[in-house]
């Protein structure tokens, strides 16, 4: 049935391995060579060097094990990635045993260059790999059955982990076929199922993690319990970048259950027999911090430092046409400056890690987005070889980019090594908010020119802010441009004949990192708000102006067309309506916001999101990600920010750093565009659209622009 599916020559065929498991089962996966650019070590040498690289193990007793190589942090990968594999393998989701993958080269996320989860890459990276893996295993099972029965393969069909013969009587389970299948030659190509034959992709099966999560039975990092385990907290110097100069641990030591108090690399550790004793000791520590650095850091000073960068020369990230000339010739020129603050991640599960370092090996149980980096961190600290370090990824109580970092891993490994026992390091909420790697503060200067008809002809955008790549991945800085800081500002979908984008790096002492949507989260605010300001200056309707600037882009127009009726409906009295468009991670989204002001307080009442995210694997999971992205974005739009005085973060709890509450939840309607394109990322596409959609709605309602986040009336 060559016309029903697509034959795929396996791009990674030379790396394919099929081996026999003890008991006669079959394991299938890929073996990657060492990759110098990611420092991935070669496959570990062990008695069975292949097995850890397997995606699928089909055991003779019928068990089908699948390795989940991405972190389940709420985005639903446990279900969605299993669906990709199960679709082609012809098994039910209920027939799979899903286990977290260890660290191994086979599990590298090629879009991130390491075994990690983030940036809306999981489904995109797995789209071919996991379907091919499933199809390969299914092909082998069918071949094994055909050989066993002495019939052509065309008379055999796979369904629910069995191969059935066309005679309607003969059938063999995958478990029964596994031993035969391992002796067959590996296929050089596989036939992926055609879209009309899909039974899982495009449906919303019950999420596999939900039953655990409604019973309190899902194990997060803080739920790890190892025999002989101790609990620890670490007090850090509150001044960023400074060291503790003196401390008194007497009161902490006196807490019943506290075993020891001592200095570690990043602060003063309190080690105890229980979580509560460790937390009580932490609260009773007297810590002196006489920093020589950063004591004068305040939000105002940081702001001033960035402000200097609004003028003068700066590296050019993009240049099309001649902006200066076009601005000089424009009938009208406007200029605006947008301000975006530092933001924390505030994952509901505070940072934590449990390590068990022994002379001969190390186990790390951790809610991490970066298990490979975790292993590397432990290797550096312990001197153990990589194959002696096992990383066990738990469920993550939120990630949002924070759990790509390694600080909590360092804490646990250092303490366990020193104490010779398993140690769970618990960060308090205050530790979590005050020692984060924040979404960077940025300033944006935009200048736009309109012609006599009110049409934008020139667009200048300068992004000013610290560099995230400078710490995380300096090799990716190009000519002074940090792509994580310009993402979303470079690839504007609008037709603007004269356009220039500059990035002026202005580093600050504040630790910064990845945050849901990264550069898009600040750039979309500036660009989509400025577009509405241009529309207003030119007397144009925001949706109509966008339509005109997207005239040559049918995919974007389709999004706006789906919003047109919502846009055209009368705006309820006392409400404003605004729009924003974001393109990121292979997806594009148009978001409509309806807001009101009640008792001097901004209330987001409703959002309508139209998403073109390529082929939708799991529609309900995608809708959940839109809802999630909107709530995350709304907190950053309307609530607090991370601010500094005397070199210290001023926020320490949910009173200072409030999150959107239940009674503030807007109505959310999601429209998913049907598409045959490969899946795009969806986990962070809605977040960047929220601030500009809300600000634009307020501009419409109140007649004045809102250029600073969080928005204050």
């Amino acid at each position: 049935m060559a016309d029903s599916g697509s034959m795929k020559g396996l791009t990674r065929r030379d790396l394919l391995k099929i081996v026999t498991l003890s008991g006669g089962g079959l394991a299938l996966g890929w073996v990657w060579p060492a990759r110098a650019e990611t420092n991935e070590p070669a496959a570990p040498r062990s008695p069975d060097p292949f097995e850890p690289n397997a995606w699928i193990n089909i055991h003779a007793d019928g068990r089908i094990q699948v390795r989940l190589a991405r972190a389940e942090m709420g985005q639903g990968v446990m279900t969605s990635l299993a669906m990709l594999l199960a679709e082609e393998l012809e098994v039910g989701l209920d027939q799979l045993q899903i286990e977290p993958a260890p660290v191994a080269p086979a599990y590298v996320n090629y879009l991130l260059g390491e075994q990690a989860t983030g940036g809306g890459t999981s489904t995109r990276d797995a789209w071919n790999t996991l379907r091919e893996a499933g199809a390969l295993a299914r092909t082998l099972m069918i071949a094994a059955a055909a050989q066993t029965w002495g019939v052509p393969e065309s008379e055999c069909r796979a369904r629910r982990a069995q191969v059935h013969h066309a005679d309607g009587t003969r059938r063999l389970t995958y478990g029964e076929l596994a031993a035969t299948a391992t002796r067959l030659p590996a296929p050089s190509s596989v036939e992926l199922k055609a879209k009309p034959d899909w039974t899982l992709i495009g449906t919303s099966p019950r999420r596999l993690d939900t039953p655990l999560k409604v019973r309190g039975a899902a194990h997060f990092g803080l739920d790890v319990r190892l025999p002989g385990m101790l609990y620890a907290t670490i007090a850090r110097c509150p001044v960023i970048g400074a060291q503790i100069s003196g401390w008194n641990g007497q009161a902490a030591h006196a807490v019943p259950g506290v075993i020891d108090v001592f200095a570690v690399r990043y602060g003063i550790a309190v080690v105890a027999e229980t979580s509560w004793a460790a937390l009580t000791g932490h609260a009773r520590l007297e810590v002196e911090c006489r920093p020589r650095v950063n004591t004068a850091v305040t939000t105002e000073r940081l702001h001033s430092r960035l402000r200097i960068g609004l003028n003068g020369r700066a590296p050019v990230a993009l240049k099309e046409g001649d902006v200066s000339r076009a601005l000089a010739r424009a009938a009208l020129e406007i200029e605006s400056v947008y301000e975006v603050p530092f933001q924390a991640h505030a994952c509901m599960e505070p940072m934590n890690c449990t390590a068990d370092v022994r002379p001969d090996g190390c186990d790390i149980h951790v809610p991490t987005q970066s298990p490979a980096a975790t292993r590397e961190t432990a290797r550096h600290l312990t001197g153990l070889s990589a194959e002696r370090i096992r990383v066990h990824t738990t469920f993550l109580g939120g990630g949002h980019g924070r759990r790509r970092e390694q600080d909590f891993v360092q804490d646990a490994v250092e303490l366990s090594q020193r104490l010779g026992r398993p140690v769970q390091v618990i960060w308090t909420r205050a530790d979590d908010l005050q020692h984060d790697y924040y979404r960077p503060m940025t300033l944006h200067r935009l200048r736009g020119g309109l012609d006599a008809a009110g049409e934008p002809v020139a667009w200048f955008h300068r992004v000013v802010g610290p560099s995230v790549l400078a710490r995380r991945d300096p090799g990716r800085l190009r000519d002074g441009i940090d792509s994580l800081m310009t993402d979303g500002a470079v690839s504007l979908p609008y037709r603007l004949p004269h356009r220039r984008l500059e990035y002026r790096r202005a580093d600050t002492p504040v630790p910064i990192g990845l945050w849901r949507g990264d550069g898009h989260s600040h750039n979309a605010f500036a660009t989509e708000c400025f577009l509405d300001e241009l529309a207003r200056a030119g007397g144009r309707d925001p949706l109509e102006l966008r339509r005109q600037l997207l005239a040559e882009s049918p995919a974007h127009l389709a999004l706006l067309d789906r919003l047109a009726e919502y846009w055209a409906a009368p705006v309820p009295e006392g409400q404003g309506r605004g729009l924003a468009l974001v393109e990121a991670m292979g997806s594009r989204l148009a978001l409509l916001a309806e807001v009101s002001v009640e008792d001097g307080k901004i209330r987001a009442r409703r959002f309508v999101a139209v998403l073109d995210g390529g082929q939708v694997v799991n529609p309900d999971a995608v809708r959940a990600q839109i809802e999630s992205g909107i709530v995350f974005g709304l907190t950053a739009t309307l609530k607090g920010a991370i601010t500094f005085s005397d070199g210290q973060v001023e926020q320490a709890d949910f009173g200072d750093y409030p999150l959107l509450r239940f009674d503030e939840m807007p109505e959310v309607e999601s429209i998913l565009i049907d598409s045959d394109a490969p899946p795009g990322g969806v986990s962070s596409i809605a977040t960047p659209a929220v601030a500009p959609a809300v600000a634009n709605a307020l501009l419409a309602l109140l007649g004045r622009p809102f250029r600073t986040l969080p928005i204050r009336l």
């Binding site: 939900t210 309190g216 039975a217 308090t428 999150l659 959107l660």
Partner: protein, 154 residues
């Protein structure tokens, strides 16, 4: 010695009476379904029932529990088929899931008092529990759905 009933079983403990119930549950009884989110009663991830009323266990000292009955997510139903748990599955409420024990225990207490709660009653009860993933809309739908015969029948 402090006596309490935990998920229907009588228990006695010789612990510092100031120990928050949260850590008694997690560290002494191994009931890790109740979560630590802030430790100061601001997020609600640690909500359990005390004599049927929702309380934040991180801010409830063990001394306040003497002679009383504590119910946690693990004790909400014997088989995970409380109407709210069924409704939570049908609406696919959880994302990361970390706050969900607190959400469900809070909602279950609300339903015990108001079998068919209004949106205002739901707002008042549920605004005590934070969710960073934005599952609020689905929580509202699940609470309404839990009151329907489809779910009530198990």
């Amino acid at each position: 010695m402090i006596h309490l009933t935990l998920n229907g079983e009588p228990q006695a403990l010789a612990l510092d009476p100031a120990t928050p119930l949260l850590w008694v549950l997690r560290d002494h009884f191994g009931l890790t379904g109740t979560k630590y989110g802030c430790g100061e009663g601001a997020c609600g991830a640690c909500v359990v029932w005390l004599d049927g009323e929702p309380v934040k266990s991180c801010s409830t000292p063990l001394s306040a529990v003497e002679g009383r009955s504590v119910q946690t997510i693990e004790g909400l139903s014997p088989d995970g088929r409380h109407p709210l748990q069924l409704a939570w599955v049908l609406e696919e409420v959880p994302q990361c899931g970390y706050c969900q024990s607190g959400q469900i225990m809070t909602a279950a207490a609300l339903l015990a008092r108001h079998p068919r709660p209004s949106d205002e009653q739901i707002d008042a009860a549920m605004s005590e529990v934070l969710c960073r993933c934005g599952s609020y809309g689905r929580i509202r739908r699940a609470i309404h759905r839990a009151a329907t015969p489809e779910v009530q029948g198990g």
